[in-house]
């Protein structure tokens, strides 16, 4: 199953390398990884999509926590989220198909951001399914080039991912990779 893991990390040189290196070393394959700043300039947010089972996600999250520069880790696959991917697609567009493609762009609520005599660049955002669907209908016209950002993800509702917790860094032991809580509740009927 695909898991979307969000890691809040210190915005310092080499942190991306540490995270990516951890995935490689522990034998996990990254489907997509995006990094960007947050509203706090000293913190960056990584969204990592990885295809693995539940046990391995728990392992992975606890390994991420071992990195000194990693502040918080969440598996957003367990909560309702908004997911967005952005793609730019350069597609053949001539007099014959131009109108048709513009109709498709309308239907998918995408945008044409560049036009030439023989091509469009189309920008589309949405969840992965929507983008896959759009690419499928464009394919017959001839995709010249394509780029995707990879998924970014945010939990729904007003509560932030990082409520300032007891250490001032939002870290809660019980959250940690779901380690103690699920196990003990599983064996002893919860508490």
């Amino acid at each position: 199953m695909q898991h979307t893991i969000v890691a809040l990390v210190e915005n310092k040189p080499g942190v991306l390398n540490r995270v990516a290196s951890l995935f490689r070393r522990r034998g996990f394959n990254i489907d997509s990884l995006t990094v960007g700043r947050t509203e706090q300039p000293e913190i960056s947010r990584m969204t990592i999509v990885v295809d693995t089972d539940e046990t391995n996600v728990e392992r992975l999250m606890s390994y991420l926590y071992k990195l000194v520069n990693v502040i918080q880790v969440h598996d957003l696959s367990k909560v309702p989220t908004v997911n967005r991917d952005l793609a730019m697609v350069k597609v053949n567009a001539n007099d014959e198909n131009r109108t048709h493609i513009m109709q498709l762009v309308d239907v998918f609520r995408a945008r044409i951001v560049d036009v030439s005599n023989s091509s469009f660049i189309i920008e589309i955002t949405g969840d992965e399914e929507k983008i896959e669907g759009f690419i499928d209908v464009l394919r017959p016209w001839g995709i010249i080039e394509m780029v995707r950002t990879g998924i970014v993800s945010m939990a729904r509702g007003a509560v932030p991912l990082y409520p300032n917790g007891k250490n001032g860094n939002g870290y809660h032991h019980e959250n940690r990779a779901g380690l103690n809580l699920p196990l003990t509740s599983q064996f002893y009927g919860g508490a």
């Binding site: 990390v9 210190e10 080499g14 390398n17 540490r18 290196s21 951890l22 070393r25 046990t55 728990e58 392992r59 606890s62 390994y63 926590y65 071992k66 990195l67 000194v68 520069n69 990693v70 502040i71 918080q72 250490n167 001032g168 860094n169 870290y171 032991h173 019980e174 940690r176 990779a177 380690l179 103690n180 196990l183 003990t184 064996f187 002893y188 508490a191």
Partner: protein
């Protein structure tokens, strides 16, 4: 006050209570060496940087303080790598300092430039590249803090030559360290304690598995009290040895691949395993599918990533082991497990007849005899450091250690060549201790150059080379699993006695069991380092043995003595 980076480094080390640094100078760390004489820190010149790394590691394990090694850029730094990985696998609190080329040359393949932070990223707890002298003091403080707190481990600081040379206004800053992503201070929840207590009080066949964490958190007394109050026998991991006195009635001995048979059988028969400061390494569990099939498991551990990694547990008490045990103890009511303890005793009786110490003397010098005699003659009071291989397992089995921290060995990485330099480091940490290093003939030659360090520094240790003319452990695997095809394991070694003498040290040779005592006593009485070349039985094997991946109770046992066969062999 205006100080150079090099001066800031040494002053920071002094503030961290560093007394000795093991190192090797070179182009990219010359400014650091140039500033050294101004500071009250002893420097030990090694013969290879790997030696420096193992010395820092041995020092850390013997003292409980942070061990420090210093090397130059490029080859100096890469030579540290084996030692850093060793310290990482065994969670040894160490700080490694490397020189780096001038910052404007980084990335240009300058002379002796290597991406040291990149190379050591997966084998350090954390690492730093310092290019700006103004960051240096702060980084050194963070590095020591990270190395010694939480689950300890190696931290590397790579310092460019310009950051060593440049000056800045600097005052030592002792404000609390702020690391938003670093959490060394986890503690178990009340609910976890309750669950653990219920399991402990209701267990009929409980067993404590004691690991390295007991020593590192200093929880020896708490562990003893816990074991005594609950009448629970204590099994040890290799690195847990010495954390619980071997002379204690509840002491069982080592578990795992070369653990005692009764210990492995006890694990397989237990209904509760209380794992304290250990990580269910594959050398300890054997086949995970059949490991302790009837046991509930409680895991006391400081590193959350170790929970459920290899063995699923019923409850985890995450936190500093000593603090956790201190909180657990008042909640525990005394209990008795006399049936369980007598069951384990009955297993011991069966093992005793297979113990080589109880077998008739066949006139040959067996390594277990040598180690047993060293234990006897040192009254069990020596600080023992091992290398890696058969002699290591025999030392674990036959040097019955009572003194916490007096058994030092490379466990997780299994680094041949660790023994001699680690023993040097341990001697600097515990100058009052009688230090014995037990090596094989193979591992000894990997770092034998450090004999020159011993001679130059004038330190006194005792070196027992268990010389069987083979890479013994590999030979044993070839015997058991590769039809005795001894490919590349027979080893012709130099004359170790002459090697010792060439370094100005004393060398002795022992070929018969009745010579062991005299040689050991001569070594002990000598004021200088003595090497004893024990020419032992060539093709002896370590028993019991759980083959890799086999069930823990499926052990290869030492064949029972057969007097008829022995006689035939002697006649030939």
């Amino acid at each position: 006050m205006k100080l150079t980076g090099a001066e800031i480094l040494w002053e920071s080390l002094r503030r961290e209570d560093v007394e000795v640094v093991f190192g090797y100078p070179g182009g990219a760390n010359l400014p650091i060496y140039d500033a050294l004489p101004k500071f009250p820190i002893r420097h030990v010149l090694v013969r290879h940087e790997q030696g420096a790394a193992h010395m820092a590691d041995g020092y850390a394990r013997a003292s409980g303080k942070v061990g420090v090694a210093l090397a130059t850029s490029g080859p100096g730094a890469t030579n540290l790598v084996t030692g850093i990985a060793t310290a990482m696998m065994d969670s040894s609190p160490t700080v490694f300092i490397t020189g780096q080329v001038v910052s404007k040359f980084i990335g240009y393949d300058a002379f002796q430039e290597t991406d040291v932070t990149g190379i050591t990223l997966p084998i350090t707890k954390h690492n730093y590249l310092v290019t700006d002298v103004r960051e240096l003091g702060h980084v050194v403080r963070e590095a020591f803090y990270i190395a010694r707190t939480g689950r300890p481990g190696p931290v590397l600081i790579d310092i460019t030559k310009d950051a060593q040379q440049n000056s800045t206004d600097w005052e030592y800053d002792d404000s609390p360290i702020q690391l938003p992503g670093y959490r060394p201070d986890l503690s178990p929840s009340e609910k976890d304690f309750q669950t653990a207590v219920e399991l402990i009080q209701s267990a009929e066949r409980p067993l404590i598995l004691a690991g390295h964490g007991v020593l590192m958190s200093g929880a020896m007394n708490e562990l003893k009290e816990f074991a005594e109050r609950t009448n629970t026998p204590v099994a040890m991991t290799l690195l847990g040895l010495s954390s619980f006195p071997s002379s204690h009635p509840l002491y069982l001995g080592m578990m795992g691949m070369h653990g005692e048979a009764w210990v492995n059988h006890a694990i397989q028969n237990a209904d509760l395993l209380i794992a304290v400061g250990m990580r269910f390494d594959d050398r300890v569990t054997g086949n995970l599918k059949t490991y302790a099939p009837n046991a509930r498991k409680i895991h006391l551990e400081i590193d959350p990533s170790e929970i459920n990694k290899n063995v699923k547990v019923d409850v985890a008490l995450i936190g500093n082991l000593r603090d956790t045990l201190r909180q657990l103890l008042p909640r525990i009511q005394p209990c008795e497990h006399s049936d369980w303890l007598s069951f384990i005793d009955s297993l011991k009786g069966e093992s005793a007849v297979r113990d080589i110490q109880n077998m008739p003397d066949n006139g040959k010098l067996h390594a277990p005899h040598v180690i047993f005699d060293i234990w006897r003659l040192t009254n069990g009071k020596a600080l023992v450091v091992t290398d890696v291989g058969q002699h290591q397992m025999w030392t674990a089995q036959y040097y019955h250690q009572d003194i916490p921290g007096y058994f030092i060995s490379s466990g997780g990485l299994g680094t041949m060549g660790f023994g001699l330099p680690a023993a040097i480091g341990a001697k600097f940490a515990r100058p009052e201790a009688e230090v014995w290093v037990v090596c094989g003939d193979g591992g000894f030659q990997m770092t034998q150059a450090e004999l020159a360090t011993i001679a130059q520094e004038g330190i006194k240790i005792n070196i027992a080379v268990i010389n069987n003319g083979y890479l013994g452990m590999v030979r044993q695997w070839q015997e058991f699993f590769y039809d005795s095809r001894y490919t590349a394991t027979p080893m012709r070694s130099p004359d170790f006695v002459k090697i010792a003498e060439a370094h100005g040290l004393t060398g002795l040779r022992v070929t018969k069991r009745n010579e062991v005592e005299e040689a050991v006593q001569r070594a002990r009485q000598s004021k200088e380092t003595v090497l004893i070349d024990f020419r032992v039985e060539k093709e002896d094997s370590v028993y019991p043995m759980v083959p890799a991946g086999a069930d823990l109770h499926q052990m290869i046992r030492r064949p029972l003595p057969n007097p008829v066969l022995e006689n035939v062999e002697n006649d030939i």
